[in-house]
Amino acid sequence: MNAPKKKLKVATTSLAGCFGCHMSFLDIDERLFTLLEHIEFDRSPLTDIKTCSPDCDIGLIEGGLCNAENVHVLREFRKNCKILIAMGACAINGGLPAQRNHLPLTTILEEVYHTSPGLKNGMIPNDPELPLPLNQVHPIHEVVKIDYFMPGCPPSADAIWKVLTDLLAGKEPELGHGLMHYD
């Protein structure tokens, strides 16, 4: 009797994202069961494992980089995953969070914590546990090498399914018309 085929380890995370891409991932619905015959989840919000195993096969990254912790997690993924996939608009071009990029960070913090109505004399949070914000939000390919990109806000469940099943079949992932969307 053949030994059961080794499952691929998949890690996922949301950096400066809204978890919409993860929601879209869940939208592959009952195909998750088929997927789970071939993969197991490592670090992911689905497992609540906090750090990547050193032998992950695929890392799915949602969201861009808006603070120091995002950069740390991204580097951890790059170190531990053979294939890294940027999932969704924020990971690819910064998305909605990057629309703050033309404003100085100090102005934003003051607006949010000092000058907004109802926040008079508010304090800008400075607990050492809080990750330092970056001056600008960056797409993840500007910091580490990314192997594949899955555009969309979010990419559709079918697009996610297509990319993962292409990879599982040993093919270059390809999204044709209808699956490739930036919106």
Binding site: A89, P139, H141, E142, D183
Partner: protein, 235 residues
């Protein structure tokens, strides 16, 4: 007089004076383009329509067709160059498709789909380009401008108004409005102008029209840009 040339091996007829892209469009063959528009004088600036003619690169919107030309367009080599140009356009501006009303109807986005652009590849500039919301009917969002000059040509050549212009050089080139204040409200621009209709991206937007057609049901959601009527009938 009628002649022919070959485009990716296909025989394409043309008449004297036609450019390669005009003859290709008439024959129903799509050549990616952004600053070219069949109703206006070619600008030759975006270089997306670059093809190889007898082994040499040239813009197909400015090159007149000649008998016996051997033209290559849909090759991996040329499309890789087009993709790099498109990626540069994406990083030089602020193109956030999910929050753009033009998404799905945008020629830049649809061209990027055609070229299989999965990411912008380069580092983003994230330039600061304030919008002009001064006009009662029209919003100008310069973040999406790709400097195709279609609005400039339409306003000058069709509307006779010269509302728009390109100013500056190189990376500092930008779209300006021809008014002392620089504001669109201080021009005689109207929604009925040809210039209001030609923007291939989401710079010139009619106000209070948000999401009249839902995302997913828009022009290039239904069919890729290579199969839409504009390749043969104009925009």
């Amino acid at each position: 007089m009628s002649h022919t040339f070959t485009l990716d091996g296909k025989v394409v007829p043309f008449v004297d004076g036609q450019t390669i892209i005009q003859a290709a469009s008439a024959a129903g063959v799509f050549i990616p383009h952004l600053c070219y528009h069949p109703e206006f004088k070619p600008h030759g600036s975006c270089k997306l329509c670059t093809v190889k003619v007898n082994g040499r690169h040239t813009a197909s919107c400015t090159m007149r067709a000649a008998p016996g030309m051997v033209v290559e367009s849909e090759t991996e080599e040329i499309n890789a160059e087009r993709r790099a140009l498109t990626q540069m356009l994406f990083v030089e501006g602020n193109h956030f498709c999910p929050s753009c009303e033009k998404s799905g109807n945008c020629q830049l986005q649809a061209t990027a789909y055609h070229l299989g652009m999965m990411s912008a590849h380069y580092d983003h500039f994230f330039p600061n380009r304030p919008v002009d919301a001064s006009h009662p009917e029209v919003l100008l969002d310069f973040n999406r401008c790709i400097l195709c000059s279609l609005c400039v040509r339409a306003s000058r050549d069709v509307d006779g108004k010269n509302v728009f212009g390109l100013s500056g050089r190189g990376i500092k080139t930008h779209l300006i409005v021809n008014a002392k204040s620089g504001q669109l409200a201080d021009t005689d621009f109207t929604l009925a102008d040809k210039a209001a209709q030609v923007c291939p991206v989401g710079v010139i937007l009619k106000k209070r029209q948000g999401f009249a057609v839902p995302i997913g049901e828009r022009k290039y959601d239904k069919a890729p840009i290579s199969e839409t009527a504009e390749t043969t009938e104009g925009h």
